[in-house]
Amino acid sequence: MADIGHVALILALVASIYSMFAYILGRKGTNPALAKSARNGLFAALGLVSLSVIILTIALITYDFEFKYVASYTDLELSLLYRISALWGGQAGSLLFWAWFISLFSVMAALWKRDAIQKLQPYALAVIMVVQVFFLSLLVSVSTPFSKLFPVPVDGAGMNLLLQHPGMLLHAPITLIAFAAFTIPFAYAIAALLSRKLGNEWLVSIRRWTVLAWLLLGVGNILGAWWAYTILGWGGYWAWDPVENAGLMPWLFTTAFLHFSLIQKRRHIFKIWNLLFIILTFNLIIFGTYIARSGILASVSVHVFGDHGLDPFFLTFFCITLLGSIALLFYRRNDLRDETTSIQLVSRESTFYLTGLLLAGSALIVLIGTIFPAITRAIAGNEIVIDAGFFDRVVGPIFLVIVLVIGICVQIGWQRAIDNKSLINRFLWPLVAAIVIIAILFIAGIREWIVLTAYFVCGFTFFSILFKWFQEIKVRNQAKVESYLKAFWKLLLGNRPHYGGYIIHLSIVIIAVGVIGSSFYESHKQSLLETGESVTISGYTLTFNGVTYEETPNLFVAAAQITVYQGDRYLGELAPQKRIVLKNGQSVSDPAIRTSLVKDLYVILDAWSEDGGTILLTVRNEPLVIWLWIGGYIFILGGLIALWPGDRRQSTLQRPQAVGLKKE
């Protein structure tokens, strides 16, 4: 079976190479037969890659330890779901999964019929095939999931306990699918450059693709944060680790693109910027994969990827795609002149421009900070490491300004003359709401001016969006004599991208609220407790009642029994655990978390004495963390509303202010 999988990948590689050349030769679209056979090559490649994915999945499900891959990442104790998750849990498997989705998306792109992009399609598919050929080449040579073991081992090595977590089932595949999906916008950007069709066609066509990839990557990042928070036992959710940054930077550049592209669509400016953002997004994904796997940043990353040998290929591919696409952009610079029209200083264009600059700027800061150790080693010989505080202090304020700009932007229409008086009227209620919020916070005892400023900004923007939304409902309510509820519903259905956008922006503010609270008011305390002793932190009293032990066939579990009171009120029992794998002695902390809307109580069992009478316990108070996850759900909701397939005439081309605002 393993051999069939391997041969299928080789044939898929051959088919992809064929399609690549067929699309290059047939790029003018003058030879329908060639175009058809190129397309058949895509289908064949998808079928063959799917076959190898199926073979590997069956091997994982049936404990076929003849596959070295299966023996390396699973064992007889592993449950079905996690055996399947090993498909993307190992290095070769993750590349196969990635290549599979590139292939799937290439077929979807080939089947995609829209007049505007017919001329771009052969170029774009050729570019996608170049990427696919790169991945398949790795999969049949240096990183094959189909090497065999002889003699066949009785049991496998098993999956790392940290990976046996729902995060593994969701975060890893969603992130990989997002990475694969970003191939399509990149391919169309390069197609536009190659074919010199640099109008708005490529931009408008790929918007939904890009939003989809962007949404998946955003969800992947939030899930990664949640995974880190619930299992790693350090109470944090984001450490500015290079591997995390590698997921954040492409997301920031794409966010900048999503805003600049709206300006280009209307005003025909910022063409170079938009191409640049898409090019950087794709290349940073490849670069991120390189740094995650190469060990050049081992000094700052806790993730060590044990597969040296793959990184030179990713570095080479990165250099080729980056230099190639930048050179192409430079070569076409004369075709990319902006058709400048006058832009008012106070307009949605200018606020979008500012947002895009801030996003791109923060992404650059993250990039420089991430590779700083490697740069200093290359230049000065001595490696200098930047701590996470740097990112907090630089990127934090930039993000806060972005939140503020969102609140201002939503009240300003596209290029419309607004007199100062009506502007003040629009900002009045959001400002009042924000002032009320910080007044309440002040009374509640919060005195740090940074926090008050930050929450003022969040409150302003949150209510600015809600207020604007309400105005739009009110206008419709008056114009059509519909009830408010019906008007709300009709508006939402009538212009889902617009209102999906509102919801996504609200979710960003909600996430910001959680980040600010947990960054400024996190507190923790480590205590040595004997049976019956208590520790108090931020109003909670925790009493230690002893350690219980449990042994399953493959695990040894120690759990500290803790009773929690808030003042005199009994809240419940918590049992932070330490789990040890009997086979290899590997241990994993399983913190106990008591969540509320205001704060999480986060308890970690650090150590226990042999008689179980004494423990070392870390108790953390993590305010507002739950709002990150709530914001994450709202982010998904907004994205689904914006993207849900529906009436084409309504969805992608509708101007946001065309509905509801006419009467304003």
Partner: protein, 138 residues
Amino acid sequence: MKGKGNKFLIGGIIVFLAIGSLAFASLQNSTSFFLTVSELKQQESSLYGKPIKVNGEVVPGSIEDNIGERTLLFTITEGGQSLSVVFYRGTVPDNFEAGREVIVDGKLNTDGIFEAHTIMAQCPSKYDPELLESGQEG
């Protein structure tokens, strides 16, 4: 027409200068040297009290976990040199163990003992399978 384009350009430059200066100002007190044990030993006297991260392997048998005093003592080694580390217990990473590559974050005291406030043990990542006990590649 041209003036409008410039306005955008100037605005952009101002934004980037602002971000750049914020970054530069923040850089001053958020860096530390990253050294291996042998590199640290070479320039020991010039490093006392400075923020340093040191990379080395935990010497088997050197770990002395004193829960009662909340200290963890151990020695790390690299390039034939070794360094004694004292860690006033915070949370020790799960995968901290003898023979593991670790990065200790803290400062070097004048008595030559490294006082760590954080231990990072390199995560056995999803791409780093534990060695197979049985079977050979065929």
